[in-house]
């Protein structure tokens, strides 16, 4: 039985560009769940994803409060532009907040001329609610969204075409 999930995509972009798209809030708020994410890129540094206005509006319309910090963790290894290892916990949902921290690894490898292979390895030991979230709902617009597969697909679209899948 494995508690690890692996997600991989090939992106036509330089590794530095992909690294920037992952770690710079000006970039990482533009794809996936649209939450600006800040990294202190050193061992022990803090990682935080801040609730977007859209998330807060959605929560308000549905009668609940959205926490300011939706995901948090700690940087375990930052080797720009190749490898980022961090802990990762979703706080916005009581089910995931009660689980232990998960470990997330981003690997950016050269795969061909101008093409990188980006792999997410997510260790989800003791965290079934996290596993269900990151695995994604087939309907990306539904609660929980499309998970890592959708985030990676969106990241590729942004880096290669300049616009995300939803066309914003």
């Amino acid at each position: 039985m494995s508690d690890t999930k692996v997600f991989r995509i090939w992106i036509k972009a330089a590794p530095e560009k992909i690294w920037e798209a992952l770690t710079d809030p000006e970039w990482n708020k533009r794809y996936g769940y649209g939450t600006p994410q800040t990294y202190d890129l050193q061992k022990g540094g803090q990682y935080q994803a801040v609730a977007s206005q859209e998330m807060k509006d959605y929560a308000k319309a549905n009668g609940f409060e959205m926490a300011d910090i939706v995901v948090e963790g700690e940087v375990l290894e930052a080797d720009a532009p190749r490898r980022l290892v961090q802990t990762w916990k979703m706080l916005m949902d009581p089910g995931t907040a009660a689980e232990p921290y998960t470990t997330l690894t981003w690997d950016i490898e050269d795969s061909g001329p101008g093409v990188c292979r980006v792999t997410i390895t997510h260790e989800l030991t003791g965290a079934p609610a996290h596993a269900a979230m990151v695995q994604g709902n087939p309907d990306a617009g539904a609660e929980g969204g499309g998970g890592w597969a959708w985030v990676l697909s969106d990241l590729k679209s942004l880096l290669e075409t300049g616009s995300i899948l939803a066309g914003k």
């Binding site: 690890t4 499309g146 597969a149 959708w150 697909s153 899948l165 066309g167």
Partner: protein, 106 residues
């Protein structure tokens, strides 16, 4: 062959779809585990896994002396995103839910 061609070719074979179903049910399996679920030689299973890996549908990782196979759902997501946009998604999900509900009743 383009990336898409590789994905569609990989998915066109029932044995390969069965291997993906096995990994969807439980990820991180060895060749030996996967082989025991199919009426096929070890060589045959390894060959199918290689096609799946070349299409990006299976990712392998080393864990000690073992080579573990993981389902990578990203290429299937990309096929989905190519033809199904944010606005039609809800209607499709509703129809699929309806199908499941009606089929469970009968």
């Amino acid at each position: 062959m383009t990336d898409d061609d590789r994905v569609f070719k990989a998915l066109a074979d029932p044995s390969r779809r069965f291997l993906l179903d096995l990994l969807f049910a439980r990820d991180g399996r060895t060749l030996t585990e996967l082989e025991s679920a199919l009426a096929m030689t070890r060589f045959g299973v390894a060959k199918h896994l290689r096609v799946l890996e070349e299409a990006g549908l299976v990712v392998t990782r080393r864990s000690g002396r073992e080579k573990l196979h993981f389902l990578n759902p990203v290429p299937i997501r990309q096929i989905h995103d190519r033809w199904i946009d944010k606005y039609t998604e809800h209607q499709i999900t509703t129809l699929i839910d309806l199908k499941h509900t009606l089929e469970e009743e009968s």
